[in-house]
Subunit: 232 residues, 2 copies
DNA sequence: ACCTGAACACCGTTCAAGT
DNA sequence: ACCTGAACACCGTTCAAGT
């Protein structure tokens, strides 16, 4: 009877393997368990396939990571039509940030893969090209767009790049100093943390609105660029 | 005679192992071969020690990475004395950037470790505390420093966060499209790249001065903050 | 010709056996 | 009590044996 259950049909998943299915599965696994827990063997297992079958669709693990980046970039909204450059860029960056919040492992992977590659992945190239197009349509000279791209940097992909999250989580530090010693050793950080906590009448513990701060930083940057544009 | 050579002295390196030696060796290995090639076993080999000996000085590999970050942050110059806030912050960020250029693997490690930890590593905490102190001494209100920290983000540690380096290197892309197709597919990037290449009479190939662009972006940010400060 | 199991050369870390 | 070799449970990827 075991035999009957297995005869006449594919022994594994019915839908055939494809690069797209591999990538989407890999992204889902990374979302669940982080990128450290992502292995070729685990992806294969999730797809109910032998590990070596993956190598028909991705050359090696780095190529898989590149493909995953492109899946993510594909989630960024296209630019708003008919909007001025500033709102178009702003909206797109905020869309990129929403994507990053869904995939917290993305910055690390993008950071490592972008540095290893001679040229960005195709989807990133297309995204950057379209972004440059938005600036150009807004009246930026080539030289000024070049500056703008450097100024925006990875913020274009929604990187918030905080050095420390005001809303802490993650591994509790075993040898973290007690609060009173913290206050003595890092007086300025402590003062800031306390002020922020009391500042707003927010329900959440930290009192720091990350989204608002991101937009604040983004707007400061865009305002700076706008000022440069007006000067020419 | 082999026997004589080995008796009466430690069979391996004479200087005793210490956390500092482990960390410095790990940083050196990462500088040479990148962080992917860094393993506990390889560090042990470089120190002429059995792998397990490392675990007396670092709890596990993540703790080692944290320690390496602190070594790097220790390389950042202390703030200039007697300078106004803007030059003090500017100088320090540029020092951080010089550090990052010496350790290209750093952003990836910082990115991944900072996200995993509830609180930054001790050296990063001290650095941020001192940075906040610079702003405060310059007359920034607590609320404004908070904004400033979000605006500066990981630029404080010298992250240049380019999405693509104008001076390409790294793995050549096997399935990269030929130049003429590149131009058709990414017209804006191509136009920008060509303009930048011809623009300056630089000796280097690319024509993009990364250092100048970094300072440009940094100054735009600092100017924006200065404007906010003046408004209060 | 295609697919895949076993094998290779690595990992980080545990643990028990040695001194 | 300390140190360490062997072992465990994983990796990514090669390769030869199977169909």
């Amino acid at each position: 009877m075991e035999r009957a259950a297995r005869t006449g049909s594919a022994p594994r998943s019915r839908t055939p393997l494809s690069k797209g299915r591999v990538l989407v599965t890999a992204v889902a696994l990374a979302d669940e368990g982080g990128v450290d827990a992502l292995s070729m063997r685990r992806i294969a297992q999730a797809l109910d396939v032998v590990p070596m079958a993956l190598y028909k669709h991705v050359a090696h693990k780095n190529a898989l990571l590149d493909g995953m980046i492109d899946v993510l970039v594909g989630e960024i909204d296209p630019p708003a039509e008919g909007a001025d450059w500033k709102t178009a860029v702003r909206g797109r960056v905020l869309s990129a940030r929403r994507m990053l919040l869904r995939h917290p492992w993305a910055p690390e992977v993008i950071e490592s893969r972008m540095k290893a590659r001679a040229t960005p992945t195709p989807a990133v190239m297309a995204y950057l090209d379209s972004m440059i197009g938005l600036f150009r349509a807004g009246g930026f000279s080539i030289a000024l767009v070049h500056h703008a791209m450097h100024v925006m940097g990875s913020r274009l992909l929604g990187f918030s790049q905080e050095l420390f999250q005001d809303t802490p989580g993650g591994e509790p530090d075993p040898d973290a100093p007690p609060p009173e010693e913290m206050a003595a050793r890092y007086p300025h950080i402590t003062a800031l943390a306390m002020a922020v906590a009391h500042d707003e009448d927010s329900v959440v513990g930290s009192g720091c609105d990350d989204q608002a701060e991101f937009e604040f930083a983004l707007d400061l940057t865009l305002d700076g660029l706008e000022r440069l544009l007006a000067r020419t």
